[in-house]
C-alpha cells in the first residue's frame, strides 16, 4: 500500500525551478527521511503535500487522495508538523491541542498528549510564552491528535536540544510501531540515519537518489574514507587522484585530503600522491558515514 505518491511533481517560481519532476513513492508503514541542504526544495515538496503551495506540474496523492483536489480529506488522515509556523498568540498549550482535537473530531485527552510530548506542566500557559523547543513539542502534539495514518514532519528536530531530539525520535519510533507511516525532512544526517528505513536525497529541486541506508553505503564501493595529511600544498594533484579508478571523491581540507574510494584503491591513492610530489605526513581511514554520502551526492550535483 502506498502512503505518498508523487508523479512528475514540479514547482516553478517565475524563472526559478524549486522542484523538478519529482517521482517518489513512500510505502505504508515505513519511516522515510527526506534529506537535503537548506533550499533544496524539501519544504516546497511538503507544502504541496499540505496544499499550502500549488504545484506547477505533476501531481501528488496521500493514501489515495489527491493532495490538491481532496486536501481536507487528506489532512483528516495525517498529522503535520510544518515549518515556519507560529503558535496562536492568545491560546494556551492545552487550547492548541483542543483545537486540533475539535478540528479532527478526535477524542484524545489533551493532557495525555501534552504529557507525551513533555510539556504537561506548561499546559495552561499561553503558548506565545513558550520557547522554540516547547512550541515544536506542542505542534508535534497537535500532529499526534487522532492517531493519524501518516505523520508529515518538516525539520521536526529544529529548535530542540539533543535530549529533545532524542525524545522526538523515540516518539517517531513509537508512532511507527503503532503502524503510522512517517515522512520527515531534515538537513541533519544523524537524525535520518537513526530512524529511517529509506531516505531520499534532494538537491537543487531534483531527487538525486532514493534508497535504504545500507544500499547507499554499499553503493559507495566499500565506503572507505581516506584522510591524508600533507605537509605541502597539493596544487593540481587532486585531479590526479580523482582520475584514478575506484575513487569517488577527493576534497582538500586544511592540508588534509579526504578521499572516498574502495578499499583496494587506498594504496593507489597514496602512490599517486607521492608520484605527484606531495609529502604524505600521515594517513588514516574511516568508515564512510551518511554525512559523506550526503556530501558526495549533493556536491556531485554542483
Amino acid at each position: 500500500m502506498v502512503a505518498i505518491k508523487a508523479t512528475r511533481l514540479s514547482k516553478r517560481y517565475n524563472t526559478v525551478v524549486a522542484l523538478d519532476r519529482i517521482d517518489l513513492t513512500v510505502n505504508k508503514g515505513e519511516t522515510f527521511g527526506f534529506l537535503g541542504p537548506n533550499g533544496a526544495g524539501k519544504s516546497t515538496f511538503i507544502n504541496i503535500l499540505l496544499d499550502l503551495v500549488k504545484p506547477s506540474d505533476g501531481e501528488v496523492s496521500i493514501l489515495g487522495n489527491n493532495c490538491q483536489d481532496e486536501g481536507v480529506k487528506v489532512r483528516n488522515k495525517i498529522g503535520v508538523l510544518p515549518e515556519g509556523y507560529s503558535v496562536f498568540d492568545r491560546l494556551t498549550g492545552r487550547q492548541h491541542i483542543e483545537y486540533a482535537i475539535r478540528s479532527k473530531d478526535a477524542d484524545d485527552n489533551p493532557i495525555e498528549i501534552l504529557d507525551r510530548v513533555g510539556i504537561r506542566e506548561a499546559a495552561d500557559r499561553k503558548a506565545s510564552e513558550y520557547s522554540k523547543g516547547m512550541a515544536q513539542r506542542l505542534v508535534l502534539g497537535m500532529a499526534l491528535v487522532g492517531s493519524p495514518e501518516l505523520l508529515v514532519l518538516d525539520e521536526p528536530t529544529s529548535g530542540l536540544d539533543p535530549n529533545g531530539a532524542a525524545e522526538m525520535r523515540d516518539i517517531l519510533r513509537e508512532e511507527n510501531e503503532r503502524g503510522a507511516t512517517i515522512f520527515f525532512s531534515s538537513h541533519i544526517l544523524e537524525q535520518v540515519e537513526a530512524v529511517c528505513d529509506r531516505v531520499g536525497i534532494l538537491q537543487n529541486g531534483e531527487l538525486v537518489t532514493v534508497d535504504t541506508i545500507t544500499n547507499l553505503r554499499s553503493s559507495l564501493g566499500g565506503g572507505t574514507k581516506l584522510l591524508i595529511e600533507t605537509g605541502t600544498d597539493v596544487n593540481g594533484s587532486l585531479d590526479t587522484v580523482r582520475g584514478l579508478s575506484d575513487v569517488e571523491t577527493a576534497i582538500e581540507n586544511d592540508e588534509t585530503i579526504e578521499v572516498t574510494c574502495t578499499d583496494d584503491a587506498k594504496m593507489d591513492v597514496i602512490v599517486a600522491l607521492h608520484d605527484a610530489g606531495v609529502d604524505v605526513v600521515n594517513f588514516r581511514t574511516e568508515e564512510a558515514s551518511l554525512e559523506d554520502m550526503f556530501v558526495e551526492y549533493t556536491a556531485g550535483g554542483q
Binding site: 489532512r75 503535520v80 510544518p82 492568545r90 478540528s103 497537535m142
Partner: protein
C-alpha cells in the same frame, strides 16, 4: 469545519480589548442618540423618524470598526505563520474565510443590534410610537451595512500578503468611498463644469456611480424603507432598491474576488 474556526476566532475577537472598546463606542453613540432624540427631535416621536437621526452615526463609525475587525483577520496569521496551523488541520481555505467572517461579524452585529433595540426602547418610552415593521427592517439593514464593512476588511485581508498592505488598502477604501466621497464628488463636478463638459449637474452615469457607494446606498435604503415620512426622489437607478443592490454587491463582490486570489495563492 468553518464553525470551529468561527468559534475559535470569535473567542479571540471578543477577548480583544480594542474590539470591545470600538464596539462599545458604536453602541454608546447609538444609545446616546436614542436618549437625545425624544428630547431634541421634532414631533412626533417615532422609531421610524429616529432611524434618520441615527443613520449618520452608523454610516460614519461602522466602516472603521468593520475594517478594523476584518483587515487583519487572515493576513496577520498569514504573516506570523499561525494560519499554517489551521490549514494543516482538515480546514479548507473557504472554511477559514467563512469562519473568520462569522467570528468577526457576530460580536459587531450583536453589539450594534442590541444597542439599536435598546435605543428603540428609549425612543418609545414613555411618549414615542413604535412602528415595529419599519424598525425591524432598519435594524436588519444596519446589520447588513456592518457586515458589508467586515466583509470588505476581510476581502483585503485575504488578498494581500503583508499586514502593512492590508492596513493601507483597508483604510483607503472607506476614505475614498465614505469620508472623502463628498470632496471627490465636488472635485468631479467642478472639473467637469470648468472644462465645459457639463453645466453644474453631474451626468446621470456619474451620479449613479456615486449613488452606488456603500454609504449612499445604505442611506437611501434607510430613507426609502424605514421612515414613511421620507421618500427617495430621483430616477429609478437612485432608488432605495438600487441601494439594497449596492449593499449586496459591496458585501459579496470584493470578498469573492479576494477569495479567488486567496484560493490560488502559495502560503509559505
Amino acid at each position: 469545519m468553518w464553525r470551529i474556526i468561527a468559534t475559535q476566532d470569535g473567542h479571540l475577537t471578543v477577548g480583544s480589548r480594542s474590539v470591545k472598546f470600538l464596539i462599545s463606542v458604536l453602541a454608546f453613540g447609538v444609545l446616546l442618540l436614542g436618549y437625545l432624540y425624544p428630547i431634541q427631535g421634532t414631533n412626533p416621536t417615532t422609531t421610524a423618524h429616529f432611524t434618520g437621526f441615527v443613520t449618520e452615526w452608523i454610516t460614519l463609525v461602522t466602516p472603521v470598526i468593520g475594517i478594523l475587525l476584518g483587515y487583519n483577520a487572515v493576513v496577520s496569521e498569514r504573516e506570523s505563520g499561525s494560519l499554517k496551523l489551521s490549514l494543516v488541520l482538515p480546514h479548507s481555505r473557504k472554511d477559514i474565510l467563512l469562519g473568520k467572517l462569522l467570528g468577526r461579524t457576530v460580536p459587531l452585529v450583536t453589539g450594534l443590534g442590541a444597542a439599536l433595540i435598546l435605543a428603540g426602547a428609549l425612543v418609545v418610552y414613555p411618549f414615542g410610537e413604535l412602528l415595529l415593521l419599519n424598525f425591524a427592517v432598519f435594524v436588519l439593514v444596519a446589520i447588513c451595512y456592518a457586515i458589508l464593512w467586515v466583509s470588505i476588511g476581510l476581502a483585503v485581508s485575504i488578498s494581500v500578503s503583508s499586514k502593512r498592505r492590508a492596513l493601507v488598502s483597508g483604510f483607503a477604501i472607506p476614505t475614498v468611498f465614505v469620508y472623502g466621497l463628498h470632496t471627490i464628488e465636488r472635485a468631479v463636478r467642478v472639473g467637469l463644469s470648468s472644462t465645459g463638459v457639463t453645466s453644474g449637474e453631474l451626468p446621470l452615469g456619474v451620479q449613479f456611480v456615486f449613488g452606488m457607494t456603500p454609504g449612499r446606498g445604505f442611506t437611501r435604503v434607510v430613507d426609502g424603507l424605514t421612515d414613511p415620512a421620507v421618500s427617495v426622489d430621483g430616477p429609478w437607478y437612485l432608488s432605495e432598491w438600487t441601494g439594497l443592490l449596492a449593499i449586496g454587491i459591496w458585501t459579496v463582490v470584493p470578498l469573492g474576488v479576494g477569495y479567488r486570489r486567496f484560493k490560488r495563492s502559495d502560503l509559505h
